[in-house]
Symmetry: C3
């Protein structure tokens, strides 16, 4: 048997480190493609000139880093996954630049067999590194994975303790980043860190209807190989499930309208893919300011934001029902730290 | 309110200059994407080697410049536009190269409230500049814009005087451009400036059926944010209107077959988007030679061309009916100056 | 008449060399686009770092070379083709790198009018060259071409003698290629040359459903202008035929799962596009090891592989029926030499 059937629940051991295959060089064409796939306009990633005035040499959008690292993990972590359950403790450590080559490893940090005996939850801490072995991103993800052999014994249950929020003092501000001389007019909006208040909600107004070709091209670009995204014969209903990361990128791009100056992502506190998304869905997005702190770097503030993507027909700001469940039409509930001029 | 509702008719003042947001670095991946989105084959933009022999260092297709500059203007000029009415006095001033960063400004040069009091026409002269603040393109565009407050007083009417045709002696021939040693066989056709006659019409033969994913990817690539192109819930009929510039690029690419040696665009005399275009439409194109002049540069001639895009089912060369209106199926009537070896 | 109607059968002469138009610079954005269009994961083309450790400076996927050269030939060879009949004697001579400019020429090496008098078979040997005029690829292709004037006299029949298999000792191993220090874990699979046996068959497991936008973008990227791929009004059934090369790239990418270490293509022995492919089809792939030889370069082995693409509903490994005809659902039967660590 020369093909990779993927790992099953019983194939993971707490403490083992999986070295994911196929390093990827992001040569630069990904920038154009990212702009073609998402309505991205954040100035640091749109303009090398603008980035240079912020002390950065034309970095990739932080979500390109996330998707590329995530894609590496799919064949080892989520090929037989039933569900992607959550994210925690994500930190963008260092920007990625055209020409950088990314690799990824994952350490298994938790295992818990489900009571049905057919599946279990696997927690991994994934680290993406550049060609100099410098960490560019790490995050915890947990997924529910099928058992291959339901008779395999249950492992000792280990549930990692995870922070509900990345402590803001542990966020990495890229070396050299400065918002002195930041041009708000050129960036697209006047609103700065001090203009946002905790609890404030912003409807990002714009909407995008998704096509099959777009989400498949995006998902392939990150070498994410999960069958459900590409193979219309995989599900009984003949639908192709859209990669949750596609919805993240779409919502983040839409958030420009109201959060144009949140230029960089620094922390991923958590995230739920609340419902499946399919081609033909029209997506809107809104954000809520959950917290705000200053970073150690003068002029650089951090906003903790909830970013919600939902179907156009869903109520704006109607996140959950009285039963505590996500309201119909809510697709994504993402909790992150972003960097913005104070 | 942190999101941008766009400007309404009463928000414009004659004489003001609007500095558009979000500069854009065209790193180079746009070249591959442009070839994927359009059947482009003009040799100067297909081959850096061919371009070098013409004295140019691998410039972008002139329409990439146009779309990028146009895209910058959308949030300020046409977000609340009812119709894009026309173009005039467009000049490509200087080629754009991989690595260049473009910004755009628009001066309001005319205003005229409609008699219904609900909307008005806004004329702007837009200038695109590279990172050295050199003009790369300027053109006049006028759009019909909704009023936000119908009670706002009508501005003094100012209708700019616009040239019907860009005077050929004012066209910019790129520094260093030479067609000495031009290889017609490699360029794809033997026809040169002297082979075209005024009044000559050319059916470009090839046809392309447009998909939703393609026109949205193209339009996003230029950071054009107009809702009608992306949001299937925006129009009552559930259709997404195709960006007029997508039709321009498609028709220009199709025009290779008969105008392969018109390598560069120099002037935009005018243009009408005669009818809306939607995914599923199959587009054909034809051209008419309207005028021909020599430029000040030996060996470089200019053809004034009418480029018409229409649905496949429309009659070739049937531009307008006896009533002077565009014939059914005509989508685009563009009037431009192109440069070609004499 | 300024447009190119394409050549008809009577327009070819044995011995003539056709210099194809429109050179193409592959600047690098094609790498990102290729990964977006196909689930490509072979490490040499995914990572410049991995490639460097193999002695190569980040070459393009060999099929990018093939498609680019092939695309150049379409306006002169297959614009009026009824069918693409076969390939033979293909050799990748030299890798192509970002920044290279490709041109192509074809020598007519055979002609045979069909007995119906309306068409005939044309054999050409096509050579692709880089900007230093070094051959990067050559191959023989034969196509059935319509006659424009059925009264034109039949040419003398010349049927070239073609090798059934490219002699392995004539394959080009790229200068500097080394698999010493090859990292199998990073490449994605442990299987090396010595692990494959002649007659072994591998089901590549993964499947992809094709969209119109994807195959048209891919085919345009290679400047392939054949009408049938783009124009829904061209065929009576309103379908757009998918470029056979799109199916080749898709199948080759799928073959990663089982053949991850076959990093480079060296020879094209033959190939049949057994049935037309259309958008909406879900494609799977399998391979058969036809032969294995060592090359002159230590550590570099060659596998002769049959790569079959078929519709998802077709039987795995059911290539042909008892009647010798391709089984229903088989789309592609490709015979090539690939290079793999011994």
């Amino acid at each position: 048997m020369k093909t990779n059937p993927g790992r099953f629940f019983e194939d993971y051991r707490v403490g083992e480190t999986i070295r994911h295959a196929v390093p990827r060089t992001l040569l630069g064409g990904e920038k154009a493609l990212y702009h073609a796939l998402y309505p991205a306009r954040h100035a640091v990633h749109s303009s090398d000139d603008f980035a240079a005035r912020c002390g950065l040499a034309g970095p990739f959008d932080d979500l390109i880093t996330f998707h590329t690292v995530f894609g590496k993990t799919v064949p080892d972590i989520s090929l037989n996954a039933i569900a992607n359950l959550g994210y925690a403790e994500g930190r963008w450590r260092r920007p990625v630049y055209p020409g950088d080559t990314l690799t990824a490893t994952s350490e298994v940090i938790g295992l818990k067999q489900n009571s049905n005996g057919n599946s279990g939850v696997v927690w991994v801490r994934t680290t993406g590194r550049n060609q100099r072995s410098e960490a560019v991103l790490d995050y915890v993800r947990w997924v529910m994975v099928r058992k291959g052999d339901t008779g395999a014994p249950a492992p000792e249950t280990v549930v990692p303790e995870l922070s509900a929020v990345v402590a803001p003092e542990t966020l990495s501000v890229p070396n050299g980043l400065t918002f002195d001389g930041y041009d708000f007019e050129l960036a697209g909006e006047p609103h700065r860190w001090r203009d946002y208040t905790i609890g404030e909600k912003i409807d990002h107004v714009d909407r995008v209807t998704i096509e099959e070709a777009e989400h498949m091209m995006a998902t392939r670009l990150w070498q994410n190989t999960a069958k459900v995204h590409f193979d219309a014969t995989n599900r009984e209903d003949g639908k192709r499930l859209i990669y949750g990361g596609h919805v993240i990128s779409l919502a983040r791009a839409l958030s420009f309208n109201g959060l144009a100056n949140v230029q960089l992502l620094a922390g991923l506190n958590g995230g739920s893919h609340a419902a499946p998304c399919f081609a033909g869905d029209t997506i809107s997005a809104w954000s809520e300011v959950l917290d705000k702190v200053e970073t150690g770097v003068p002029g650089v503030g951090a906003l903790r934001l909830r970013l919600v993507a939902q179907k156009a027909e869903a109520e704006p700001f109607g996140l959950k029902g009285e039963d505590g469940k996500y309201a119909p039409g809510v697709l994504l509930d993402l909790d992150y730290w972003g960097l913005i001029p104070t």
